[in-house]
């Protein structure tokens, strides 16, 4: 740069600077080369890192404070002798085994997870069993829900015929299906799956249908002008245009299928987090029930986030 022809002032022209009348900055040839610059960069990176951590902490802090406050209130309210609800400290002392050894009876060999049949299984084992059931029931409701949703979204006749039925059936609570489900399937396993399926399917159907009905006319016109055949229309226009709605339905559906798990496992005893709650209630182990509630809440939250995340990924790619 010093050889640049347009350079006007040089050090020679400015003797005052040389004589130290102006403060002189140390000239750094190019970033990263000077040890001071490297040091500076390190410091900036560090500060940035700290800043990010601080932001994250600030985001979580109110939640943590709230939990701590609630636990304290709960502790104070329920620490009396005759309290019917166990205080957090009592939960810890009485259910320590359940809290600390969730993986009891669960063996992992490579990819496969084996859960001990019957007998003494930790709470994570029960959760895994429940998740398997939800996976089957929810997959079925996703499959049939999206199919039916596309059908009633696409055909006015099907919509008029089926929508009122769906609107009525979707308000039936999971437990109310239990007797029917048992009567139909006779066996515990399929009726439990059916309960999850029938609970989760409605939001999937209705949201998918809304998505199909709301495909903008302009996209439909493009399809007509390009003379797309029904299959091409389905793959290239309808599916991508409907994905966000579908995932809204799937996200509500996965939450509801998790809600149905307790009802489902009251049918199929022996394993699962729903059974665990039922069992702990029957054995008057209220502290175990509380631990299970926390597990159910956290897993349900995680399921919701996972489906939401997949939906966003697919919507971005579609």
């Amino acid at each position: 740069m010093s050889s640049s022809p347009v350079r006007i002032a040089s050090a020679k022209d400015a003797p005052s600077a040389k004589e130290g009348l102006l403060p002189q900055a140390e000239i750094i040839p190019y970033p990263g080369a000077h040890p001071a610059a490297a040091e500076m960069k390190k410091r900036i990176d560090f500060a940035r890192h700290v800043g990010k951590l601080r932001d994250a902490a600030l985001a979580v802090l109110p939640t943590l404070l709230m939990i701590a406050a609630l636990l304290m209130v709960w502790e104070m309210a329920c620490s009396g002798e005759g309290s019917s609800l166990p205080a957090p400290s009592k939960v810890w002392t009485e259910s320590r085994e359940v809290i600390l050894h969730p993986l009891k009876g669960v063996e992992m060999d490579g990819i496969g997870i084996k859960i001990q049949d019957g007998g003494d299984v930790g709470i994570a084992g029960h959760v895994l069993t429940s998740l398997k059931r939800v996976a089957v029931g929810f997959s079925l409701s996703a499959l049939f829900g999206i199919g039916l949703g596309i059908l009633i979204g696409q055909s006015k006749f099907a919509y008029r015929a089926l929508d009122p039925l769906f609107q009525i059936l979707r308000t039936v609570p999971p437990l109310a299906w239990l007797p029917l489900s048992l009567a139909i399937f006779q066996q515990a396993q399929p009726s439990a799956i059916f309960l999850i399926f029938i609970t989760a399917i409605w939001p999937v159907i209705l949201n998918t249908a809304a998505g199909v009905q709301n495909i903008p006319t302009t996209y439909r016109n493009v399809a007509k002008v390009l003379a797309l055949n029904p299959l091409e229309y389905f793959l290239k226009i309808m599916l991508p245009a409907t994905v966000p709605h579908m995932f809204t339905g799937l996200r509500i559906g996965v939450g509801m299928s998790w809600l149905a798990i307790v009802a489902a496992e009251m049918v199929q005893g022996g394993t699962g987090i729903g059974f665990f709650i039922w069992d702990s209630y029957n054995s008057s182990l209220l502290t175990d029930t509380i631990v299970a509630l926390v597990w159910i809440g956290v897993i349900g939250f995680a399921l919701d986030r996972i489906v939401g995340w997949i939906g966003r990924r697919i919507a971005r790619q579609a």
Partner: protein, 267 residues
């Protein structure tokens, strides 16, 4: 057999049933357009221009009358009549290249992948959008999106190019640059074009013929003006010629004196 023009509209009428009896939107529309002709349809809002374009596209069925294209009756949409929509209607989940590809795959299904890809890029080049081939419509400006919309339409090598107020949603400067692009493309390809517009200058600058529509209800063709300006037309030089001013004056007179905006009349 009677001789018909390349694109012929014969006795087109559109009537909707309403609660207060039938409502006639368009009546007695006869229009003959030659191959390679650029026709602008101009008229006030609500005169049924878009309905007429949709009828040619096959998206709307007329209550009366027939549209013939190269001797065949038009009764459904098809790839031989490409439409450039006002809102560009690119599919937001596809890239620019994929949007054009969708049209090319439909119209050139016999060609190899490489040939089709090359044809896509060739058409993007015509609208100067090759640089954005990998981008999604959401990342483009309004003018760029419409360029891609034009590329998608011309890539179909249609027999008729239908433009529904293609530049209506764009700012004046962008509109001018797209009009220039359309003129350059038209000089090369010599398509048969029907364009709907609100803009008198746009109609005179681009079209060989300006078809003026009367106000609705029961709108029909009021005037059919040939624009004889020599091509290629340059927007600055052409605007100074007496022919240009004459055409412009005729249209303005029609739109603002003989058939003034129905909203103004009501006020």
């Amino acid at each position: 057999m009677k001789h018909r023009s390349y694109l012929a509209l014969e006795g087109i009428g559109v009537t909707f049933p309403t609660a207060n009896g039938p409502f006639t939107a368009l009546r007695d529309i006869d229009l003959s357009i030659d191959k390679g002709e650029f026709v602008a349809l101009i008229g006030h809002s609500g005169c049924g221009k878009s309905t007429l374009l949709n009828i040619i596209a096959g998206l709307t069925r007329p209550s009366r009358g027939v549209v013939f294209l190269d001797g065949d009756v038009v009764d459904k949409p098809g790839t031989d009549r490409a439409v450039i929509f006002q809102d560009h209607s690119l599919l937001p989940w596809l890239t620019v290249e994929e949007n054009v590809r969708l049209a090319v795959d439909k119209t050139m299904s016999g060609k190899s992948r490489a040939e089709r890809r090359e044809w896509v890029m060739h058409n993007l080049e015509l609208v100067q959008m090759t640089h954005a081939a990998g981008k999604r419509p959401g990342e483009l400006s309004g003018g760029m999106k419409q360029r891609v919309g034009i590329a998608r339409a011309i890539a179909m090598s249609p027999r008729v190019l239908l433009m529904d107020e293609p530049f209506g949603a764009l700012d004046a400067l962008t509109r001018a640059s797209l009009q220039d692009a359309v003129m350059a493309i038209q000089a090369k390809l010599n398509n048969t074009v029907v364009m709907i517009t609100h803009d008198v200058d746009e109609a005179v600058l681009l079209a060989d013929r300006v078809v003026m529509m009367t106000n609705g209800p029961a709108a029909t063709i009021g005037e059919d003006l040939a624009v004889t300006l020599p091509r290629p037309r340059n927007r600055i030089e052409t605007a100074d010629t007496p022919d240009y001013n004459h055409a412009r004056h005729e249209i303005l007179h029609f739109l603002h004196q003989r058939y003034s905006n129905p909203v103004d009349k009501a006020a």
